[in-house]
């Protein structure tokens, strides 16, 4: 695998076994997809509900194992400790212990990523500043709005300085100002040289921030488009998506 | 075989050391009566099941002992009726009724089943066993039943020396030898959690045997430590009498 690639999917498939009385029922969520994610790019995953976006992200985060094909992340198996040390994952609608203060939660996750206490303290302060949580440091998480929770979610994915950041619906449920702030933050990650993979239902959001978009439908990749193909083109990304999934 | 079943079987293998150690630990069994030996009293089956399954036999033995004391501390209505009847009826020849020894002290038909129940739950509860035996022997005039209680307790808690001492003392109760009874009971009475009633009885027997210093020692203990106010007040009066006699 080329060192230029942050992740490589080769005919990767994932079939869930749904518990049913008698015999488990298979559900093919991802069907033998192959694509690469370049280092330093912002890659968008676009698809309808059930298209397989979250499954692909979980495969990259090492939370799921492919049932066929291979997935490599930063040169190794995503379930290896070494690759997990170098990724940051924000699940959709993250939850944090409501009685914690943000720094407590971030310190815990920094420590789980292998950071020492001495390294974690400045990293926590810095990431809180970056995501705009520093003014709310004294609050308990139970007092946080949805937008602040999402910022905290992003902060935990970034606190250990990952090379690859995987964001599942980072703008979900946010108000327009929070969406704008999130977009600025994500763009900032590219400036820092990090690779970002994000999924979204929102075509306009991906259009503004992504360098490349992979379109998914029913577990398969139906198109992969560069930003140059939608910027300035009539109908933008939306037209391309409609053409791909119809 | 599905991976889940494989994992399950692999997981079960981890329990093998625990099972092996369980075999080795089998010889450590608490010397308490088996569940099947616990006799039911006052529909106690559910309570007894809770006592065993929660690992709280001692606690439930305490509860049953409290019930026993409350039962024995409550005047029987049948007892009052008998006294009333005795007062009201007259003999033509003016003779005095003879109802047998201790007739005025009551029957307390549940006293023995309750006592046995405490022993079934915790035969090492020496205070309760001694309380039951002493009450039966000295208050209710049922020395044979008292011996039965003690013999059962000894069969279940053979290393409890107090039971042997009290049983031996009961063996002398028919004789006119209070000194020997006191000698046997004194080590039991000197224990801090001995029932006050037995202390009181031993002090009385000491007095009868002419051993006033032992009687005074026991009465002083009762006066200072007995939680029952009546016993403490009576002990003080007895102490005054003994001091008056020896002055």
């Amino acid at each position: 695998m080329s060192q230029e690639m942050a992740a490589v999917f080769e005919k990767a498939g994932k079939t869930y076994l749904l518990p049913r009385l008698g015999r488990p029922q298979p559900l093919e969520a991802v069907k033998g997809v192959s694509f690469e994610i370049r280092r330093g790019e912002i890659l968008g995953l676009l698809g309808l509900n059930g298209a397989g976006k979250t499954t692909l992200m979980k495969l990259m985060a090492g939370l799921l194992a492919p049932t066929s094909g291979t997935v490599r992340v930063l040169g190794s198996d995503p379930r290896d400790a070494e690759s997990r040390r170098r990724i940051g994952f924000l699940p959709e609608l993250p939850y944090f212990y409501p009685r914690y203060r943000p720094a407590e939660a971030l310190s815990y996750y920094a420590s789980l990523s292998g950071m020492t206490r001495a390294d974690a303290a400045p990293a926590v302060a810095s990431v809180m500043e970056k995501v705009g949580l520093a003014p709310h440091a004294g609050k308990r998480i139970s007092e946080f709005s949805k937008g602040m929770m999402q910022r905290l979610g992003l902060a935990q994915a970034l606190v250990h300085g990952p090379e690859l950041v995987i964001l599942d619906e980072p703008a979900s449920g946010l108000d327009p100002i929070a969406i704008h702030d999130m977009r600025v933050l994500i763009s900032g990650l590219r400036e820092e040289g990090r690779t970002v993979v994000l999924s979204s239902h929102s075509i306009s959001e991906l259009e503004k921030v992504a360098d490349r978009v992979i379109m998914l439908s029913r577990g398969g990749v139906v198109a992969c488009v560069e930003s140059s193909s939608w910027r300035g083109a009539e109908g933008g990304l939306e037209r391309l998506f409609m053409e791909a999934v119809r | 075989m599905s991976p889940r079943v494989k994992d399950l079987l692999l997981g079960l293998l981890f329990f093998l050391p625990a099972l092996a150690l369980g075999l080795r630990a089998e010889r450590y069994r608490p010397p308490l009566p088996a569940v099947s030996d616990i006799r039911e009293v006052r529909r106690s089956a559910a309570e007894d099941a809770a006592a065993v399954s929660l690992g709280a036999r001692r606690l439930f033995a305490d509860v049953w002992f409290i019930r026993l004391m409350q039962y024995y501390g409550t005047r029987e209505s049948v007892h009052d009726e008998r006294i009333q009847e005795h007062r009201e009826h007259h003999h033509a020849d003016g003779s005095v009724c003879d109802h047998g020894p201790g007739w005025e002290k009551g029957e307390y038909p549940e006293f023995i089943p309750l006592s046995l129940h405490v022993i079934d739950l915790d035969p090492w509860f020496h205070s309760a066993v001694i309380y039951s035996a002493a009450s039966l022997a000295y208050n209710l005039n049922k020395p044979a039943e008292a011996r039965t209680i003690l013999e059962l307790a000894i069969s279940r808690a053979p290393r409890e020396w107090r039971y042997h001492s009290v049983l031996a003392a009961l063996g002398h109760s028919g004789e006119e030898n209070p000194g020997e009874i006191v000698r046997l009971l004194l080590p039991v009475v000197r224990q801090p959690d001995c029932p006050t009633m037995l202390k009181n009885q031993t002090a009385f027997l000491s007095k009868r045997a002419g051993d006033y210093s032992t009687a005074a020692e026991i009465y002083r203990d009762i006066a200072e430590n007995a939680p029952e106010k009546e016993y403490a007040e009576r002990a003080l009066r007895e102490l005054e009498k003994i001091e008056g006699r020896t002055r």
Binding site: - | L19, I66, Q70, A128
Partner: protein, 255 residues
Amino acid sequence: MKALFSPALRVASHSLRLHLRDRFFGLFLLFSLLLIYSSLLVGVMAVYQERRALVDFGLALMELMGLAFCVYASATAVSSEVETKTIYLVFSRPVPRHSYLLGKMLAVFGAAALLLAATAVMHSSLLLLRGHSPDGLYFAALGYSWLKLTLISSLVFAVSMFATSSLSAMVIGFILWMLGHFAPETVFMAARAGGEGSALEFLARLIPNLQLFNFKDALDVPGAAAPPALALAYAAAWWAGSYGFAWALLRRKEF
């Protein structure tokens, strides 16, 4: 070893803090203290057996409250993180599942020790206030209770890995607790009914013998409980068995 214990200790210290801040922990503690205080009444009713009644009630209440907390905490330790998806934030990091599981179990063991210690301080104070002093047997009984609680916690952890819900894991935990106090008799009856070495006897042996730890029920009985070394080894064997079982089921589990 460092690779196992370092993340495990991080998970343990975080989870312990969560347990201590959990309102259920506070409720169990408060309820225990109230019950222990109200046991003064029982002490009065027991007349000259006040010390015994207070000690027995206190030890039993501490253990039962500890049981309620441990069963609840063990049954929900992993499932609540799955439900809230916080487990994604853990397993997307370099935290081995065996370390995570060890950390979660250690946190419940630690919380059980703290719950027992807090209630024991209150109970001992009450005893001292009434002119009685807790002796070595009292503290030994507490130690055995802790072993018993940790053993049942580890089993509930194992059960929670395949139980359909936290509630069913809790119910199974309480049933195991009750059967555990009948264990020697169950084995005896199973051997009689099915014959020695039968499948029935084997099944009966799958129930841990909690009587070995029931020191509080035999404070006046010399040699009633298993010697401390054997009790510790027996508890450790069940911890290891439950841990291994839970790991075998968790290692391939997908979230």
